[in-house]
Amino acid sequence: MDGMSIQDPGAPLSPRERAIHLLSRLSFGATEESVEQVLQQGESAWLDAQLEPAVEGSPALIAALSELPTVNMDSPAIYEWVNGEPSEEELSLEKRRELNRRRRLPREHLLKAVHLRSVLSTRQVFEVLADFFRNHFNVSFTKGGVSDYLITDYENQVVRMHLLGTFADMLRASASHPAMLYFLDNHLSRRPPSKQELAEIERNTRRSTGSRQRGAEAALIAAQRGLNENYARELLELHTLGVDNYYKQRDVIAVAEALTGWTFNSGRYAEWDFRFRSDMHVEGPKKVLGHLVREDRDGGLEEGHDILKMLIEHKGTADFIAMKLVRYLVADQPPPDLVKSVAKVFRKSEGDIQALLRAIIESDDFWLRRNYRTKFKTPNEFLCSALRSLGAEIIDPTRVLRVMADMGQPLYHCDDPTGWYDTAESWLDPGVMARRWQFAEELAANRIDGVTIPPDFYQSLPAEVPRLWQHHLTKRLLPSGAGQRTRNALSTVTDQYLAKAKVADVQELGPPLVGLLLGSPEFQQQ
């Protein structure tokens, strides 16, 4: 039970420790109840149940999601929901303000839904995988523009749709989804216009403006239009092969050329779906990673598919995805042998996500004591696990989402296409802890707007024996136990309180103890 005591580093985990470890990595925080559940069901039965594509989860979650009307809408529906019927008249200032306010709502709904599911869903494994792949195929609202119409559908049709399927399908879905095409500018990438087209642009502009100079300028600007390498590069670097693995700048250019014309329909009455425009496509043979891309003389769409296939089958992709997944689920320094064996599974199965997951959980490496309680929680993991272990009622997660942003990890707002790093090194700077302590205390004191600790949270504590409260609360919030120093600190607080209080009241001493527990070093680990 001692969280920080020195143990034989070679000793195998006890059944209880195994349950805690499994839940630390495959849920947003082990709770007393979930530990019992794993112990009763057995590890593999628990995992099977988690991967059952059945109901979304708890009644609390279903109720909360039902208040977010856009979370299950596709992009055209969101567009219509935001903009309503077109109006011939000029909009009043008030109407325009209302419209602007409404435009932000689908984004708010989505962020809330992601957070609510992470905390409340009974299918925690699904949500953990969603967190990983959402981050891997990162798109961000910071891009602005039409992102607000697109990302909800991306969450549903790219991330969640394929979590129990294959990496290959998810990659293909992301590559052709408007949210990704927009985020990484592929919708703009095109072959340079021909002389004929330039002449036409010049002529049209000259006629419409009556200015020879404006016509010439328009043609000059149009002449610059061309290849945009942004998506092609990140496809190779971040989504598949890993940085500088196997590819060179010339491959980036060839991939960008093959993907010219991958764009999407937009605007009122549009379907906001993938569209291939052969008039934007760069023709001619392309060589990628030493292979000639099958030239598609029938417009060019298939060239992109051919490249995706090539990338899915590439050894580098298997290695890279296996490494990232092992780093995320097992250790900041991923054990090389485990990565190798997971990569093998990837190559046999086009990256069957369930198979990858099982390969990790069924390995010996996963269960080594040296990997137990060694991952530092990201801000997202810290906040979700705090709410989970308190069984907090979430009325409105807006405030918690803002705290997450303060801590440097705003959901769906990661500017960098790389997504967030998942290692302790990237998050554990001196100073970071202060923000966590502050949140821990505010949450314990019920001072975080929109979330409350249920009144019966302290009910099961033995009212007559205040000195035992800290132990009961420790058991609930730190299933893997507290170290000596944390126990001492809690005792000090208890002593100080009991010396002053006439009658010991759990509603008074409980919250400070909870705040300290959530801010303790032990709670930052998983």
């Binding site: 703009l188 610059q224 700048q249 440097g408 790389t418 001196p430 000596q484 001492n488 930052q524």
Partner: protein
């Protein structure tokens, strides 16, 4: 635990610091007291995303420049600030023109990495770790400086970043403070008190028993990080709440960051290195010319730096500011009113005795043959040489062989 003696000493050192400038400038030699207490400091500003250098310090007379950038090019009509016959500043950088005139602002052109990567993340890692192409180095160049120049008396306050997470240049063994922006000051300080027993140095009763934390059972360094948090944030809160600025800063996150750095510097706590990130420079589309996204950000950047310079007054001559980015962008615009990832960029060096008022670095030009891979600015100055010069001149720190792995760095000639 309150390191009272050290604090007192620091305060004295700070008081001394105020009278140093005249001493420091004699013959370029610097008085190097304990604790970095001579007041010398370095502020490292990182423009994340690969800023388009070519539209910051502009070869405005170059015909090629005008030709390859039909919508983005800046000319005299756009109000550029000509600083010599060849070069002009983006109009949004006007606040820096004054520093240039005072010879305290030195742009260095065509700075970059010998590594060809056009990946943001690699380029940033390589630059901030000071080790292009080397993936085994995981300590930032500034962190290495801090580690190698630290003494038993070094201030715990030597280095900080005004943001939630440290920039990579400051990561490493040497503890550096990241200041969370959302920390409510008064409430925050009692929070620190309460968590001291969990994380602090004080040995609670029974602490020596089983369960006492050692490096071995704090593998991620959580406890260590918490301890440093408490000690340094306490003092930081005191400083920024008590001192007032006479100078107005742009009302922006970046401006507020620069203002707080100035406060800490003026407080004389022995702070030597401060880091501040400015994100969002990856302008693939809609970059704009004299007005637009990049212009708005440049205005904020330049305004904040100029205010910082005024705020510091003569102390600016002991304080170096460097502004950098991971790479420059394509010389040609891309047709979406933007630019793609390129190669060479540039660095601003301001204050700290730099030889300002002239543009440093060699400039190959913009003809196709002059470009790197026919598309990007060349790199004619290795960024490590700039870092080398800045460290040596700001801190009288000898940059030894191996400081930048596998590279014999040297000073940029004429920069100081």
């Amino acid at each position: 635990m309150k390191p009272v003696t050290r604090r007192n000493f620091l305060l004295q050192a700070g008081a001394l610091g105020a009278s140093i400038p005249s001493l420091a400038s004699i013959g370029g030699a610097r008085w190097s007291g304990a604790l970095g207490g001579d007041g010398s400091a370095l502020v490292c500003i990182y423009l994340r995303g690969g800023a388009d250098w070519l539209n910051m310090v502009v070869p405005f007379k170059d015909k090629n420049y005008q030709a390859v950038r039909p919508t983005l090019a800046l000319g005299e009509d756009d109000g550029v600030i000509a600083i010599d016959r060849k070069w002009a500043l983006h109009p949004a950088l006007t606040p820096l023109a004054e520093l240039y005139k005072q010879k305290r602002f030195a742009p260095v052109v065509c700075v970059g990495s010998p590594h060809t990567t056009r990946s943001h993340f690699d380029a940033q890692d390589f630059m901030e770790f000071g080790a292009p192409g080397n993936r085994t180095v995981r300590s930032g160049w500034l962190n290495r400086y801090l580690g190698r120049s630290s003494t038993a008396e070094s201030s715990e306050f030597r280095a900080m970043a005004l943001q939630e997470l440290l920039p990579r240049s400051l990561r490493g063994e040497y503890p550096v403070l990241a200041v969370p922006s959302g920390l409510d000051r008064k409430k925050g300080s009692s929070t620190l008190d309460r968590f001291e027993e969990f994380y602090g140095d004080g040995m609670p009763a029974g602490g020596e028993m089983e369960g006492e934390r050692t490096e071995d059972n704090d593998p991620a360094g959580i406890v260590r990080s918490g301890r440093v948090t408490i000690e340094t944030l306490r003092r930081y809160q005191e400083i920024v709440t008590k001192s007032k600025s006479e100078v107005e800063y742009p009302k922006s996150r970046f401006g507020a960051g620069m203002q707080n750095i100035a406060k800490v510097l003026k407080a004389g706590e022995g702070m030597e290195v401060a880091g501040l990130d400015y994100t969002g420079w990856d302008h693939h589309a809609g970059q704009g010319g004299a007005e637009g996204r990049q212009a708005n950000m440049l205005r904020d950047l330049a305004g904040s730096i100029a205010s910082f310079g005024k705020d510091l007054g003569p102390r600016l001559d002991q304080t170096s500011i460097i502004v950098m980015t991971e790479f420059g962008r394509t010389v040609r615009e891309n047709g979406n009113n933007g630019t793609d990832h390129g190669h060479g960029s540039g660095v601003f060096v301001i204050g700290g005795g730099v030889k300002g008022g002239e543009v440093h670095g060699s400039w190959p030009g913009l003809k196709d043959d002059d470009l790197y891979e026919g598309r990007d600015l060349q790199v004619t100055t290795d960024f490590r040489d700039v870092f080398h010069s800045v460290l040596e001149s700001t801190f009288s720190f000898k940059v030894k062989k191996g400081f930048f792995p596998d590279y014999a760095s040297r000073k940029v000639s004429g920069l100081y």
